[in-house]
């Protein structure tokens, strides 16, 4: 189904399904970093592919992006984005890093990928249980660069089937203290064909 033809009930269905999946992912993250993790209500947005980098806070903003493909009964991508300060704080609490700024070593890359893996797996297993589907995350891939550069390869797959992307977006944050919060964005980018599977099995009509 083309993304633009979705109605509000279908959008709500996706939001709710995603909320449950993200809840599991946030619990996993919270246990890993030993902090409370707050979630925003997921936002489902349908925007032109060319606007995606802007939507992420600007094409030139430095971000750590971890991407996984969804394999199994449905197809699509998951993209986790951490602004560089948040990635740094995450590494401080995971690895006890003392550095002042983000330095990408083999260990930090591996730790961040593992975070991506755990979040995506928690999310997909909750989603899979709910929809009675087998959803398997691929190995995580990581890039640390400008937001535009990090996300464009996810957009390539989508752009083959049109000019719009649908993003299920959740922000999560640790500590309430803004200066110390670990913030991240979680995006689910289903392939258009996969959307039907999600919606019909979630009880939303197509």
């Amino acid at each position: 189904m083309p993304f633009r033809e979705m109605n509000s009930v279908q959008l709500d269905t996706l939001k709710e399904v995603s909320n449950i999946g993200m809840g599991h992912a946030a619990t996993a993250l919270s246990q890993m970093i030993g902090q409370r993790v707050n979630l925003t209500v997921p936002n489902v947005t349908i925007i032109e592919i060319s606007q995606v980098p802007e939507h992420l806070g600007g094409a030139e903003k430095m971000m750590v992006g971890i991407t996984l493909q969804i394999l199994g009964d449905a197809r699509g991508s998951i993209m986790l984005l951490f602004p560089q300060e948040s990635a740094h704080r995450l590494l401080c609490s995971l690895l006890g890093h003392q550095e002042k700024a983000l330095i990408m070593t083999e260990v930090s890359v591996s730790a961040l990928k593992e975070v991506g893996n755990i979040l995506a797996s928690a999310y997909l297993s909750a989603l899979g249980n709910l929809l009675n589907k087998t959803l398997i995350p691929s190995v995580p891939l990581l890039a640390y660069d400008m937001a535009g550069a990090v996300v464009d390869h996810v957009l390539i797959d989508l752009s083959q089937s049109g000019d719009f992307a649908m993003m299920v977006e959740t922000d999560f944050a640790g500590e309430p203290d803004q200066d110390l919060a670990i913030k991240g964005h979680f995006f689910l980018l289903p392939d258009p064909a996969t959307l039907n599977i999600f919606l019909s099995d979630a009880g939303g009509s197509i």
Binding site: A143, A149, V150, D152, S161
Partner: protein, 160 residues
Amino acid sequence: MSTRVTIAQVRIDQSPAVLKAYGLGSCVAVALYDPEARIGGLGHLLLPNRPEKNVLGSESKYVDAGILEIVDELVQAGANQERLVAKVAGGANMFETTYQTLIKSIGARNARSARSTLASLGIPIVGEEVGGNRGRTVEFDLATGNMMVYCARDDDQVSI
């Protein structure tokens, strides 16, 4: 005056405008310039080749179709196709190459498509900053035909 060229967009303008494309990963930016008329165009292109049928959505996301579109618009605006020169940047592979099947090296295919399309039009490539695994931002100055390529991660810039 600078104009931004977003993903899947092509723009043309004349001196002294500056055309910019931010955050290129596996996308390529193709700049075409007529040094005498001092007009040029920039495309921020996403996919290597336009499929023969069932094109879904805009055509200017394809490297080959996008280049043809810039050339057409430039010629209409008074450029001479025989004077056109090209500069190409981007086409990186942002993620590790260990998992080829997950990445499909789309960046390299984009760069290859840009080279072959330009070659078939007889437009020489006078500057290139492609490949690798770093993101790039380009600024194409239509007063001079210079293209500045910035790499935020390495804090590096080159002029091509």
